[in-house]
């Protein structure tokens, strides 16, 4: 009994520790400026104001950064999911020399710390004439999201029975037709997990964005908000918190919509175990 209570206490304290900053972020973003540094601090704001949001949207580059981030993350996600799906299909379904070693090589590149790759990548992108573009970030993010996505999808793909594809082939489908009609629907939960993972990774990425892009036209939210609101002398706390809230919203919305897909799993039962 006492252990149960203790355990519950422990669990709740962790939940609180995780949730409190989020709560504080939201609260801070709607507090008027003069209330921000009051001591003792107010838990719930006396007056709720949206002036920080208005300022952010109307008088800063926030919307440009936001648009950049949306383009960047969406394009990266599409590229990564497309390549990883085809790659996983090849790694699971076709037999060729060096298939296993290839898979491990891919995993190995994922294990390399990204800091090690950043300078060579930067130099390559410069020589390609791509520095300071959103495309350069798409390429960079793809290089480190793809290996993990490939491994994730490979295990999902391995869970799709080969007989399903064979049946579709016998039923008259082309290889591509069988892939679209039979494999893709089975793979959907895996594709959604992979897409979500890639999207979050690109949305939150900071280091590469900092090194590869330094013009406002191509900056994503992470580095954009940093450079805009944080200087050596001053941190615009209220604007920062408002920006943070708006940065989190797309992810929360995406999760809410896709959560049921993530937990639904495979349409089991078509094939005996």
């Amino acid at each position: 009994m006492a252990r149960r209570v203790l355990f519950n206490l422990f669990a709740w304290s962790i939940v609180l520790a995780v949730a409190f900053p989020l709560f504080w972020m939201i609260v801070t973003s709607v507090k008027p400026q003069f209330e921000l540094f009051r001591r003792p601090p107010t838990f719930l704001p006396d007056t709720v104001t949206f002036e920080h949001y208005r300022t952010l949207l109307a008088r800063t580059n926030f919307m440009i950064y936001f648009r950049n981030s949306v383009i960047l993350s969406t394009v990266t996600t599409f590229v990564v999911v497309f390549l990883a799906t085809l790659g996983a299909y090849s790694l699971v379904r076709f037999r060729y020399r060096g298939r296993e070693s290839l898979a491990f090589l891919v995993l190995f590149t994922y294990l390399l710390p990204s800091v090690v790759l950043i300078i060579p990548l930067y130099l390559m992108l410069v020589s390609l004439g791509l520095s300071n573009t959103i495309l350069s970030l798409v390429i960079a993010y793809t290089t480190f999201a793809l290996p993990y996505a490939l491994w994730l999808l490979r295990s999902f793909m391995a869970g799709v029975p080969e007989d399903l594809e064979s049946a579709a082939l016998v039923d008259g489908a082309s290889r591509l037709g069988a892939f679209r009609d039979v494999i893709l629907p089975q793979l959907l939960p895996g594709i959604i997990s992979t897409a979500l993972f890639t999207f979050i990774l690109s949305w939150n990425e900071y280091l590469y964005a900092l090194v590869l892009v330094n013009s406002d036209g191509a900056r994503p939210l992470t580095t954009g908000v940093m450079s805009m609101l944080i200087s050596a002398f001053n941190i615009e706390w209220s604007l920062l918190m408002a920006a943070s809230v708006m940065m989190s919203v797309p992810l929360i919305v995406a999760f809410a919509f896709l959560q049921s897909y993530l937990t639904r799993g495979f349409g089991a039962g078509g094939v005996k175990g």
């Binding site: 064979s166 082939l169 489908a173 009609d181 039979v182 094939v271």
Partner: protein
């Protein structure tokens, strides 16, 4: 006319040989079973025929046309998979209609075709369900329906009944035979259940280790097993296989093993003497009287017959079967009479080929339970 033909077909993955130099010629409209123990290459053979696996060498023909380079969809075949392979995200109706859709049958014509199959297999009430909402037997019928909805040249069935309970299996066996009779299509049926193969097929191809052992009608496979493997594989309880010495003295052949000596009918000229293997079906051993002494080791009543295992003085064990009601108790001594006229003789070794011609006469009624009384004098006391 040969409808399906394998010519020197071989499949190997590196050193692993799945199928070795298979020659098989199946007539149009024939029901052929591929029978053999697990891992003998049945599925591989079927998948090569379907175009899902490429032969390492050799030629496969369907309807007189070489199909080696044709995709599965172009071979005019339908297949039922060992795992059923129903599309989990489609309803039963969509599953059955899928081959039609892929072959460009207009939407309007698909409905009646699906309905016809659904009626034949009693799937009507299930059409709106997903595969996971069906029982094993129902899934099996849907898989069958998906194959039957078209009218292909050849049906390929890979152990379609292996996941069903005994009763449903018996029922579906009869249904399949009836279906084959009605459609008159060539069917290649993979199974490791000899009862299925024996009762359903026109001919059985027995495989072992990727090598074709015998290809013959069920009765012939039973009566004239081509080699020791087939002899031991076909028949329950299986044939008694006794290793011993074969010798010819004064024009008469004699087989000897510890505790057993048999005078054999004439063998073909040129038969080698020395080590050999004698095969005796359980029904070809008579109990109660005869030249050999034995002791009852085991009695199994199955209801419609009694399986008896006896031990000869030399330690050799023989299985026999008798009509029920013969009161035998373990430990009891009795005399037995092997019917030498019905004996099979094989060369030594695990896959020794057949040495003697099959027995002629009334004994050819293969599964006969009773032993002709005249058989009793065939053996000589040792």
């Amino acid at each position: 006319m040969a409808d399906v033909e394998f010519r020197k077909v071989r499949k190997a993955w590196g050193k692993v040989v799945g199928v070795a130099d298979l020659d098989l010629s199946i007539r149009a409209g024939e029901f052929v079973s591929l029978l053999g123990p697990s891992g003998c290459g049945k599925t591989t053979t079927l998948r090569m025929l379907a175009g899902l696996e490429f032969p390492t060498s050799g030629e496969i023909r369907i309807g007189g046309r070489t199909v080696n380079d044709l995709a599965p969809g172009q071979r005019d075949i339908a297949m039922v998979f060992q795992s059923y392979a129903l599309y989990p995200h489609m309803t039963v109706e969509e599953n059955i209609a899928y081959p039609l859709k892929k072959r460009g049958v207009p939407r309007g014509e698909r409905g009646p075709m699906v309905a016809r199959v659904a009626e034949m297999l009693q799937l009507g009430p299930l059409l709106g369900r997903k595969p996971r909402e069906l029982s094993g037997g129902q899934q099996q019928r849907v898989a069958l329906g998906r194959a039957l909805v078209r009218d292909p040249k050849v049906f390929l069935l890979d152990e379609p009944l292996s996941n069903l309970d005994a009763k449903l299996r018996g029922h579906m066996r009869a249904e399949l035979v009836e279906l084959h009779r009605r459609l008159g299509r060539t069917m290649v049926y993979v199974t490791h259940d000899q009862l299925e193969a024996m009762t359903m097929s026109d001919r059985i191809a027995i495989l072992e280790g990727g090598v074709l052992q015998q290809f013959a009608p069920p009765q012939e496979v039973y009566r004239e097993p081509a080699n020791r493997f087939v002899a031991g594989f076909i028949g329950t309880p299986s044939m008694n296989l006794i290793d011993g010495q074969l010798a010819q003295t004064g024009g008469r052949w004699r087989f000897e093993a510890p505790g057993l000596a048999l005078e054999l009918p004439a063998l073909p000229p040129g038969t080698p003497g020395g080590e050999a293997c004698l095969g005796l079906r359980p029904e070809h051993i008579a109990f109660g009287s005869g030249p050999l002494e034995a002791r009852v080791a085991l009695v199994e009543e199955t209801g419609h017959e009694t399986i008896v295992v006896v031990e000869l003085p030399g330690g050799l064990r023989l299985t026999g079967r008798t009509a029920p009601g013969m009161a035998l108790r373990p430990g009891e001594a009795l005399r037995i009479a092997p019917d030498a006229a019905q004996a099979h003789l094989f060369a030594a070794g695990p896959s020794g080929r057949r040495l003697n011609a099959p027995a002629a006469g009334p004994g050819r009624a293969a599964a006969s339970v009773s032993v002709p009384a005249s058989a009793a004098h065939a053996g000589e006391p040792s």
